[in-house]
């Protein structure tokens, strides 16, 4: 019935639109680079479903992210945008690709280390020394597991004597 179906965006074109939606808390990365967007489905009619997963279970930014995705797709001419939230597989910082890690570092945030193992005794015995994003030194320490947002910790570099943030590896 709709006269606009001929101009319907392809899935790849929709993904390209989503590449322009930046994470509100880490504005150098898009919601796709962060792995928040898990899938895009073209539904019958004009509807488009975007499948998302939250980084953290209590992430306060997820509502903003959903609104940003919806308005970006509205702007691209898609009237019926549906957001579907999934929790499995659980989001992991391991999904952030190499190029995106370079962007984080250039922005002054140490990229995430591989997600921690579950051996608790070991986890609690091994201090972490993230690589300083400014001078690449490993002579660093984690000052606090929690920084300006849930996804970052606060660190200190003994080499260049500067504080820096680290994207948590989870």
């Amino acid at each position: 019935m709709s006269g606009t179906s001929a101009t319907r965006l392809t899935r790849d074109e929709i993904l390209a639109v989503l590449d322009t939606v930046m994470d509100p808390e880490v504005p150098v990365l898009s919601v796709r680079e962060l792995g928040i967007v898990r899938d895009v489905r073209l539904e019958a009619g004009e509807a488009v479903t975007v499948v998302v997963t939250p980084t953290y279970s209590g992430c306060p930014a997820i509502r903003v992210i959903e609104q940003d995705i919806t308005s970006a797709l509205h702007g691209a001419g898609i009237a019926d945008v549906r957001i579907e939230t999934v929790y499995s597989p659980a989001w992991t910082s391991d999904w952030i690709p190499t190029e995106a890690r370079a962007k984080l570092k250039a922005y002054g945030i140490a990229p995430p280390s591989p997600a921690a193992a579950t051996d608790l005794v070991q986890l609690l015995r091994a201090p972490r020394t993230p690589q300083c994003p400014y001078c690449d030194s490993r002579d660093t320490e984690v000052r606090s597991e929690f920084g300006s947002t849930a996804c970052k910790s606060i660190c200190w570099c003994r080499s260049c004597r500067q504080p820096f943030e680290e994207f948590k590896g989870i």
Binding site: S57, G58, C59, S88, L120, V121, A150
Partner: protein, 265 residues
């Protein structure tokens, strides 16, 4: 005339999975609220941020577990209905998490004992035969792992810190220890769930928990209370028998939702 026959209504079968989800959700809702009480009052800015962040994670996890509980219950209650419109006797959290914050050392000791419990429990639940529970546990486990790094680091700093910090965190451990057996009590619900592979065997988990706790407590130059301090074991939270502290907390947690039912903002 025969009197109308009364057909006895059989009691509904116990919904063990619902009970498990309420236990998981309520532990996190109550402890998350406790931690939020520190907001603006923590000893240093970094800790204000840290405790608020842990609280936020726990509330997020509570949302997931209670939402699923509402689905399993099938009476149309969502996570907000369960959080705001149940009475204290309907809450299934352990007594440990409802204890008032005390000083910073007390809060950290309570958090550490809970965080280790959370990691070993969620790790086991991530292999649950219930796919929904496994998914929510795997999600929460990632957060529990950095929570325990936070509280574990503080146990070391306070225990192996000044005489005063050592004394206070030791006192907190002594006081809190009697609440820990409840975390691993294999009551009917837990035992049946373990048989079905939905939840882990709690006595085995207890041993694992204690190994980790002992490792950190020892390195923090602290000592665990003697076995005699185990008794009287304080328990009852899993069946709704709470200390008076929960009622006071719920009054604060629930008042806005109850004063303005259905309000949106």
């Amino acid at each position: 005339m025969t009197s109308p026959s009364v057909v006895p209504v059989p009691a509904p079968p116990p919904n063990d999975e619902l009970e498990l989800l309420l236990r998981l959700g309520d532990d996190r809702l109550v402890l998350g609220h406790r931690l939020s009480e520190w907001c603006g009052h923590a000893p240093i800015l970094e800790e204000d941020i840290a405790l608020a962040n842990v609280a936020l994670d726990l509330l997020g996890q509570a949302t997931l577990f209670l939402r699923r509980a509402g689905e399993v219950e099938g009476k149309g209650r969502d996570e907000d209905a369960l959080a705001y419109f149940r009475e204290a006797v309907e809450f299934r959290n352990c007594l440990l998490v409802e204890q008032p914050n005390g000083d910073f050392g007390f809060t950290i000791a309570r958090q550490f004992l809970f965080d280790v419990h959370a990691v070993v429990t969620l790790d086991a639940l991530s292999r649950s035969t219930s796919a929904e529970i496994a998914a929510l546990a795997a999600k929460s486990l990632k957060e529990a792992k950095y929570h325990v790094r936070h509280s574990g680091e503080w146990m070391l700093m306070l225990g192996d810190g000044t005489d005063e910090s050592h004394r206070r965190v030791q006192r907190a451990l002594d006081e809190l220890w009697r609440f820990t057996p409840e975390l691993f009590v294999a009551d009917g619900v837990a035992a049946r769930l373990a048989v079905q592979g939905i939840a882990p065997d709690l006595p085995a988990l207890h041993a694992k928990w204690e190994t980790i706790v002992r490792d950190v407590v020892g390195r923090a130059t602290l000592t665990l209370p003697h076995e005699s301090m185990h008794s009287p074991h304080l328990r009852g939270g899993r069946s709704g028998m709470h200390s008076e502290h929960l009622g006071h907390m719920l009054a604060e947690l629930q008042i806005v939702a109850r004063s303005h039912p259905g309000a949106k903002w």
